[in-house]
Amino acid sequence: MSPPPARVFVVLVIELEPPDEHGIAGTIEHWNWVEEDSELRQAPINWNERYNQLIWSR
C-alpha cells in the first residue's frame, strides 16, 4: 500500500530532560497523517504555525 498522496506523516514527541534511568530521552505521544504544506514540500500544512523554527527540510 502506497502512502496517501499530498500527505505528510507527523510524529509528536515529548522530550525527557534529563533522560530516564533507561536512557530514554523522549516519548512518542501521537502520530498521524496531515496535509502537505502548499509551499514547503514534505512539511505539514501550516508548518510555520506548528513549530518555532525550521531546523531541517529536503
Binding site: P4, L12, E15, N46
Partner: protein
C-alpha cells in the same frame, strides 16, 4: 531491548488477552487533552477545522465507505471546565458538540458538526467518554 523482535514481543505481551474486533469508540487522551472519535479501522488524515475541532479523513476510501470516519476535540477537558460540565461523569458527545457550536459563529464549524461529527456519534452509537482523573504532568 535492542531489536524490533524484542519490541514486538513486549507489545504483544502487554496487550495479551486485550485484542479483539475493532468497534467505533471515543477515547480521551489525557496527555494531550484530546477526545478522539474513530468509527473505522483505517488509516486517516487529520484535517483541522478550528482550534477545537479536527476531522479524520479516510486515506483509502472505497465507493461504499464514508470519506470522514472520525473527529477529534482538542483541549476537551479545558473546554468542558470553562463551560462548567460535570467532569465526574462521562461526557455525552452530542452535548459537547452543542457547546462547541454555541462557542463559535463560524458557519463552517456548524457544517462539520451537523454534517460529519453528530451523524457519526448518533449512527455509530458512540458512548459518553470520561474526562475524569488526574492530568499527567509534563516531564
Amino acid at each position: 531491548m535492542n531489536t524490533p523482535e524484542e519490541l514486538g514481543a513486549l507489545v504483544r505481551a502487554t496487550f495479551v488477552g486485550e485484542t479483539g474486533e475493532f468497534r467505533p469508540c471515543a477515547v480521551f487522551d489525557r496527555a494531550l487533552d484530546c477526545i478522539r472519535v474513530i468509527t473505522a479501522d483505517t488509516s486517516v488524515t487529520e484535517i483541522r477545522v478550528n482550534d477545537l475541532l479536527t476531522v479524520l479523513e479516510d486515506n483509502y476510501p472505497n465507493s461504499n465507505s464514508r470519506k470522514y470516519v472520525g473527529f477529534t476535540i482538542k483541549g476537551a477537558r479545558h473546554f468542558c471546565q470553562q463551560r462548567s460540565f460535570n467532569l465526574t461523569i462521562p461526557i455525552k458527545l452530542t452535548e459537547l458538540l452543542d457547546a462547541i457550536l454555541a462557542s463559535t459563529p463560524d458557519p463552517f464549524v456548524r457544517v462539520v458538526i451537523d454534517g460529519i461529527a453528530r451523524p457519526l456519534v448518533e449512527e455509530k452509537k458512540i458512548e459518553p467518554v470520561s474526562l475524569s482523573g488526574p492530568v499527567p504532568r509534563a516531564a
